[in-house]
């Protein structure tokens, strides 16, 4: 699948940064906020000139890949059928400032991306762009081979979709460490040593490969067994 058009749902800090990276990478970019296009038009024109400010339905209909960059507590405001058959990146995390009390947002028995995938059941969800701070994403995108290039964790249940997204992440300026299990998204959720960290490929891979040895990994293992 060739990706030429990127659609971003969410015109906040993360959505804006990803729109900028996608423009720099040469994609056609559409972005929407929670309401009418007028609410975000000036913001988009000023912050990411070249991106097309629009509304959810238009963004989804005219994009080859969709990035969910809205507060996690609000994903259910989007009609699950809207994303039917779409390849969707889940860039969301639970974040207290925008989401409130975690237990009110998420079922504690499953990871956030599993819940997002269960809700958008006819879309293919791949989790990435969620664990690096948005200003690190903005400032640290680099061309392939740059020794300072940072890496992102990419995971989902659909192998082909994960590989497509990994290539897309690479085109946006980051190396990737890839898994094929959406539940492994827990490895980059808040509380993980990877959440908020900005690491090179080898450093990221090392923590992922030995995740069961981290404090957070041990805690997760204790909860699930």
């Amino acid at each position: 699948m060739t990706i030429k058009r990127v659609g971003i749902l969410g015109a906040g800090k993360v959505g804006i940064v990803l729109a900028g990276l996608a423009l720099d990478a040469g994609y056609e970019v559409r972005i929407s906020g929670s309401g009418a296009v007028e609410k975000i038009a000036l913001t988009i024109k000023t912050l990411v000139p070249g991106a097309i400010a629009s509304e959810n339905a238009d963004v989804v209909a005219n994009s080859d890949i969709i990035i969910l960059a809205i507060p996690l507590s609000r994903y259910k405001n989007i009609d699950p059928n809207l994303l039917k058959g779409k390849l969707v990146i889940d860039a969301m995390n639970y974040w207290w400032e925008t989401d409130g009390i975690r237990e009110e947002v998420l079922d504690p028995s499953a990871t956030s991306s599993e819940q997002v995938q269960a809700y958008f059941k006819s879309a293919t969800i791949v989790k990435t762009f969620n664990h690096m701070g948005y200003h690190n994403l903005q400032e640290e995108a680099r061309l392939k081979g740059d020794p300072k290039r940072k890496a992102l964790f990419v995971t989902g249940d659909d192998r082909e979709a994960v590989d497509t997204v990994a290539a897309f992440v690479d085109s946006m300026g980051f190396d990737t460490v890839v898994h094929y299990t959406i539940a492994d998204g827990i490895m980059t959720e808040p509380g993980s040593p990877l959440f908020g960290a900005s690491l090179r490929h080898d450093e990221l891979k090392d923590i992922i490969d030995h995740f069961d040895q981290t404090e957070f990994g041990k805690k997760i293992a204790a909860q699930t067994h």
Partner: protein
């Protein structure tokens, strides 16, 4: 274009607990009295603003900043007295108005309100609010505060507070409207909101390169023009530490800023600060750390890049000694501020 003659330089503290020379910690009460001494020092040095934050947790001494500012008012002459910030979302706008109008009376018109949504959660359950209403709370309370600020009878109703009918609030100030800023963390939505209400804006730049905020400042001006709202020079708040020796400055700042960052990260789930991250912040990012010359160079660069009207440096992070804190303030007032102006004048001459 930076207006060097009107450039303001502020100091802000969150009321971190002060350390004794032997490493033991002072009480919160001692730490609060230390802030009053520092406010006095800042005024003597001719600094523009003294800002005191509001927190409701053991690692910060100040929960009632206007009370501390009232004490500073009594020992100062010129410096403006600001909160950094007042967590409006979990406060009552009527009380906010009353406290600041009182502070304004005590200080002969030097009170400055800085309103924000807060970056900690404690105040929400403490005062009976639901974090889920984070955004709605701020919007509604800002609307009421804005009416009260006119100092005329207010008729208002909303979701989170009893209605007001033709209600006057007191005391009235001597100089009309209280000077009010909105403190924002840089979401585009917050910028538009601040423009709509027509207040001055202070941006907290606490990580990454300051230059990435340039488009946001462009957005502020573009939105003000489009909506026919007033435009003010933007203010910025960033963390810093200044000492006579570069290595000392870096060592003290690393230890204390990292300790704060990591402690807060524990509750929010972010990874501890690495040395690489810290070094990035002090070299090209948002921590202004070093000798007066280095800090002045970096501040001047940010002020010039972003076209600022005010720069507030947040001091005292972690557990610093009174001597470290006071020396930093002294160096800021006597060396950094004049040097920043000098550098900016040179830059302007070259342009």
């Amino acid at each position: 274009m930076v207006d060097i003659d009107h450039l303001e330089f502020g100091l802000e503290t969150f009321g971190d607990i002060v350390a004794n020379e032997d490493g033991s910690l002072q009480t919160a009460a001692q730490s609060i009295r230390q802030i009053v001494r520092e406010g006095q020092l800042a005024d003597e040095l001719g600094l523009s603003v003294m800002g005191v934050g509001e927190h409701h947790r053991p690692d910060y001494s100040v929960s009632s900043p206007e009370t501390v500012l009232a004490s500073i008012a009594a020992v100062t002459k010129n410096i403006k007295l600001a909160t950094a910030v007042t967590v409006l979302s979990s406060d009552d706008p009527v009380r906010v108005y009353e406290r600041f109008a009182t502070l304004d009376a005590l200080s002969n018109g030097r009170a400055q309100v800085m309103l924000g949504r807060g970056s900690f959660t404690e105040s929400f359950p403490l005062f009976g609010y639901d974090l889920t209403d984070y955004d709605d709370l701020f919007n509604e309370k800002l609307g009421l505060y804005d009416l009260l600020r006119n100092e005329k009878p207010v008729t208002w109703s909303g979701k989170f507070r009893a209605s007001l009918k033709d209600q006057d609030v007191y005391p009235k100030t001597e100089h009309g409207k209280l000077e009010t800023y909105i403190g924002i963390g840089g979401s585009p939505e917050s910028i538009i909101r601040a423009v709509k209400v027509g207040y001055k804006v202070i941006i907290a730049i606490i990580g990454g390169q300051a230059s990435r905020f340039k488009p946001y400042i462009d957005l502020y001006h573009a939105a003000a023009q489009q909506l026919g709202k007033p435009e003010f020079p933007i203010a910025v708040h960033s963390h810093g530490f200044i000492a006579d020796d570069e290595d000392d400055a870096l060592e003290v700042a690393y230890k204390n800023i990292k300790a704060n960052f990591d402690r807060i990260g524990l509750t929010r789930g972010w990874a501890p600060m690495s040395r690489e991250q810290f070094d990035g912040e002090t070299k090209v990012g948002s921590f202004y750390v070093g000798t007066p010359e280095i800090v002045a160079q970096r501040m001047a660069r940010t002020i010039d890049q972003l076209g600022l009207g005010r720069f507030d440096i947040v001091y005292g992070a972690g557990n610093q000694t009174a001597a470290q804190r006071e020396r930093m303030i002294e160096l800021y007032g006597t060396k950094v501020v004049p040097r920043v102006k000098e550098i900016l004048a040179e830059t302007a001459a070259v342009k």
